[in-house]
Each structure stands twice: as structure tokens, then as C-alpha cells.
């Protein structure tokens, strides 16, 4: 029996949420807009147009690189990646080839090979014997993150992607909304049998973490079956069919990626001083890893921590609620208590504010205090009014307890919990 080791790398594309496009001033807010209303000579690739890079997009790419523990080279440049396809009006995409903004990082023990900046393509709609083109998305800043093939299971791939997604949301540089395609996932997979495999299969454009996991599992099983027969899986690009939960060959002839990269002559190089990079690093916001540690120090349960830090809106809400408590000097509400309320979704963070949550917690506490007072008074009353039943109980007819519970429930008009009342009654009757 051979042992099989899955070897997985990831390529992730993330659309930045800048206001304008990467190389021109057209609005980058393309989603759901009328076709071809967000274009100009630059993003339509008309002759003579001059692309000028968006400063914020560059800063955000570097921020992301730093958050992924990358090295930021002092010299960087853009290149032209040439290919002929109608989603690109220029016949090339402005991208970065050999000198990207960030290199050699790591996240969750996965090496980050590079983080580079490029422009998104237009959108194509295939319709019968024609293809319709909308260039609104053409030229929107797109960051590509490439990992080393350091991932060895679909679970780890999913966990890696989720952490990357969180980091992007914490940095506030993209919606990273997979439904809208602003974060696109492409795993490459091979299965090794001791030596390094000499093929890899790329699955294109998957738009959910669960689908990535399923696609990887599907591929691993498929490769094993082929390897079992002494054959080697074909190196190719495959698509993901989410309805059938399978991958399928896109029958691309394996083109020797003949992109003929060359330096973009229209854009001068980008040169960063060490102190600029250091300043950017110092200005990074707290990231999921930092928040995990902070919440742990507050004594929160690990499962709750993961739920709270998963979504930055929930985290912000939690921290604000905690702050409300601190400022009020209230010592009765613990961090874990706030977490419980949030995790059990007893409050809608979109509709209520952190103060509401704290008020709700305080009200609940007071209520339960009040109701326990009422219950205890009712128990005393019922005991003194039902001497016969008490005698029966003490005489061994313990079944009579349910009658007494009923009496208490009646007296409190349903306040309090029957089980709780029974316990209290038994305690009182036994110990006085």
C-alpha cells in the first residue's frame, strides 16, 4: 500500500475596494451598474492613453503583504502580461511579474510566495453564438496572493483561506465578498507518492470556502484512483460544477503560458524607503491573531473566541459592549457573559447597539433577581397554607411535591421554572 500525500497551493484574487480604478479615475464601483458606463480611454485600452497607478491600491497591497509577514522589496514595477482575449481591451493586462510588492511571507505555517497588484478584466457573458462584453470591471485593482504548495489537506486549505479572508476584512481593503466575485479562489492540487509529483491540476474560480474543500477532496480522490492504476493525472485546468459537486476538464490545450511579459514602459518604477515600510508596518491594525490572544486573556472560551473574531462587525460590537461595561464601572457583567449573548445571537448587531446589549443583560439579571424573590415568597406562603400536604410529604408521600409545585406556580402566575421550584421546595422541606 502506497502512502499518498496531497500537495496543495492556493492562488487568491481579491478586488480592492478603492473608489477609483487601478490606472484611471473611473469609478471602481462597478457591481450592478449599467454596462459600459464606467470606462475611459485608459480602461478601454485606446491608443495613446496613459495609465497612472492608484496610490491607495499600492499602499493596501503593501499592507496586505505586511499582514502576511512578507518582505517588501524596496524596488517594484509593473509589467505587461500579453494575451489575446476579449475581456482585455488592450491585448495585455498590467500586472507584476518578477518584482511584486511583497514576497516570502507566511500565514498559518503556509508560505506566501508573493502578493502582487494587477487590474481586473471586463466581464463576459456568453450568449448563444455571441459573447457580450462589459468593461465596467476592467481596470479595477486586483490583488493576487500566491502561496507555496505547503497545504496538505482540504481542511487546512479551508482554514487558511478563512484566516486570509478575516485578515483582508480587518485591513478593510476589500469586501472580499465571494458571492460578488470580489474574492476568487483557485487551488492547485497534486498527490505525491513519496517523490515530488510532476504534475498539478488547477481548479479555477471557486467562490466559497466549502466548495474549495469539496473540490480539493474530489481531486485528491480522483488523483489517487489514477495513481493506483500506475498512471499520472493530466496536468490541466479544471472547472468546478457546484450542482454536481465535481470538477470537470476545461479541455484547455496546455499552452506553454506564452505571456511574453515585459516591463510596462508607461509606468515608472515604485521605490520605497525602509522607513516608509516600517511606518506602514507600525500602522497595521490589530489582526485576527492579535484579537485571539486578547480575548483569550479576557478568559473567553476558545469556541466563542473563534465565533467573535470571525466577523469584524461582531468583534467591534463585542469590544464596544465591553467598553460600555468598563466605563459604567459595573463589575457584575463578565466578558464571557457578553460573549454568551453574542454567540447565542440573542441580539441583532445590525439593529441594536452595544449599549442595548448591556441594558438587556442588566434587565435580565434584575428580572431573574425579582422573580427569584417572588418565587421564594410564594414558596413560604404555600408551605404555611398547606400543612396537610407538608405532613404527607414528611410522612413519606413524596409524590405530593408536584401538588405543591403547582400551587407555587399558580401563586407566581407562571413566573419561575417548575424544576427550579421543585428543587427549592425540596430543600426547604428537608432543611427547613
Amino acid at each position: 500500500m502506497k502512502t499518498y500525500e496531497p500537495i496543495i497551493g492556493m492562488e487568491i484574487h481579491v478586488e480592492l475596494k478603492t473608489r477609483s480604478k487601478m490606472f484611471c479615475s473611473c469609478s471602481a464601483d462597478w457591481f450592478g451598474k449599467k454596462p459600459n458606463t464606467h470606462t475611459c480611454p485608459v480602461c478601454l485600452g485606446l491608443p495613446g492613453a496613459l495609465p497612472v497607478p492608484n496610490k491607495i491600491a499600492i499602499e493596501w497591497s503593501i499592507k496586505l503583504g505586511l499582514a502576511l509577514n512578507c518582505k517588501i522589496p524596496s524596488f517594484s514595477k509593473f509589467d505587461r502580461k500579453n494575451y489575446f482575449y476579449p475581456d482585455l481591451p488592450k491585448g495585455y493586462q498590467i500586472s507584476q511579474y518578477d518584482q511584486p510588492f511583497a514576497i516570502n511571507g507566511n500565514l498559518k505555517k503556509v508560505g506566501i510566495r508573493r502578493v502582487h497588484l494587477e487590474e481586473d478584466t471586463g466581464k463576459l457573458i456568453h450568449q448563444g453564438d455571441s459573447t457580450l462584453i462589459d468593461f465596467n470591471r476592467s481596470g479595477v485593482p486586483l490583488v493576487e496572493i500566491v502561496t507555496e504548495p505547503d497545504i496538505h489537506s482540504s481542511e487546512d486549505a479551508k482554514a487558511f483561506l478563512q484566516e486570509l479572508h478575516r485578515i483582508i476584512r480587518y485591513l478593510d481593503i476589500s469586501d472580499a465578498d465571494m458571492e460578488k466575485g470580489s474574492m476568487r479562489l483557485e487551488p492547485n492540487i497534486s498527490v505525491g507518492t513519496g517523490e515530488v509529483p510532476d504534475y498539478k491540476v488547477e481548479v479555477k474560480n471557486i467562490n466559497s470556502f466549502n466548495f474549495v474543500k469539496k473540490a480539493i477532496d474530489y481531486e485528491i480522490a480522483r488523483h489517487k484512483e489514477i495513481l493506483e492504476k500506475g498512471q499520472v493525472p493530466v496536468q490541466e485546468t479544471r472547472g468546478w460544477d457546484e450542482k454536481k459537486a465535481i470538477t470537470y476538464s476545461q479541455r484547455l490545450k496546455e499552452k506553454a503560458h506564452d505571456y511574453r511579459y515585459f516591463p510596462e514602459p508607461d509606468i515608472p518604477p515604485l521605490i520605497f524607503k525602509e522607513k516608509e515600510i516600517k511606518r506602514a508596518k507600525d500602522q497595521l491594525p490589530k489582526l485576527p491573531g492579535d484579537k485571539r490572544r486578547e480575548l483569550k486573556e479576557l478568559g473567553l472560551k476558545d469556541d466563542d473566541i473563534e465565533i467573535i473574531i470571525d466577523d469584524i462587525a461582531t468583534l467591534n460590537f463585542f469590544e464596544q459592549a465591553l467598553n460600555v461595561v468598563r466605563l459604567s464601572g459595573n463589575r457584575e457583567i463578565s466578558a464571557q457573559e457578553i460573549a454568551n449573548w453574542l454567540v447565542n445571537k440573542k441580539i441583532n448587531i445590525d439593529k441594536q447597539n452595544p449599549k442595548d446589549l448591556i441594558m438587556a443583560i442588566i434587565a435580565k439579571k434584575q428580572n431573574s433577581q425579582i422573580s427569584s424573590d417572588i418565587v421564594s415568597k410564594a414558596i413560604d406562603k404555600v408551605i404555611s397554607a398547606n400543612q396537610k400536604a407538608i405532613d404527607d410529604y414528611n410522612g413519606g408521600k413524596t409524590g405530593v411535591i408536584m401538588f405543591l409545585v403547582g400551587q407555587v406556580m399558580g401563586a407566581t402566575k407562571g413566573k419561575g421554572d417548575a424544576q427550579e421550584i421543585r428543587k427549592l421546595l425540596e430543600k426547604k422541606l428537608t432543611y427547613g
Binding site: C40, H126, S130, T131, D134, P268, I271
Partner: protein
């Protein structure tokens, strides 16, 4: 004939990358023309470049960027004005499928 002639296959490959249909006669014609062009570029090899820093820029400019301010775009009409075929605000081309390239 130039000293480093491109092969016919190379010419076909270049044409394919540019999505240009070429006839047999054109291949022969371009084989000659492209080879001459490549030879001409080779003139650069005669320049002594020892000790010269490699660069892809000659302007001496660096860090030319713009602030992230959106400005009005062209109208849809203007955007489509050079397109041969349009449909409902889209540019329309013959069907292109990834699968078939």
C-alpha cells in the same frame, strides 16, 4: 535572408497568440519581415553594456501615482462608439469559449 531566421512554426505561433488568421503566403512573407526585425533589434548587442545597470526605464521618473479620486467616465454611447457590434449596452463579439481555445 537574415542570419537568424524565424521558423514557419514560430510565425504561426505568434499569429495565433495575436488571434490573427494568416495564409501560407503571408507566413512566408512575415517569416522574412519578422526575421529582419529581430536582426535589426540585435544591433543593440553591439553596444558595450559592461558596468551599466539594467533598467527598463529611461525617464528617471519614479513613484508616479494618483490619488484615489473618482472622476466622471465616458457615456455608454461614447464607450460603444468604436464597437462593430453592440447589444443592450454591451459590446458584442463572436462567441468565445475558454474551453475551445
Amino acid at each position: 535572408m537574415s542570419e537568424n531566421s524565424l521558423t514557419k512554426d514560430e510565425v504561426k505561433h505568434i499569429a495565433k497568440l495575436a488571434n490573427l488568421p494568416v495564409t501560407e503566403e503571408e507566413i512566408i512573407k512575415f517569416q522574412k519581415q519578422l526575421s529582419e526585425t529581430v536582426d535589426y533589434i540585435k544591433t543593440l548587442s553591439s553596444v558595450a553594456t559592461q558596468g551599466v545597470e539594467p533598467t527598463s526605464q529611461v525617464t528617471g521618473l519614479k513613484n508616479v501615482t494618483r490619488t484615489d479620486e473618482p472622476a466622471p467616465s465616458q457615456t455608454q454611447e461614447e464607450a460603444l462608439s468604436n464597437a462593430k457590434n453592440t447589444h443592450n449596452g454591451f459590446i458584442k463579439v463572436k462567441a468565445i469559449f475558454n474551453e475551445q481555445t
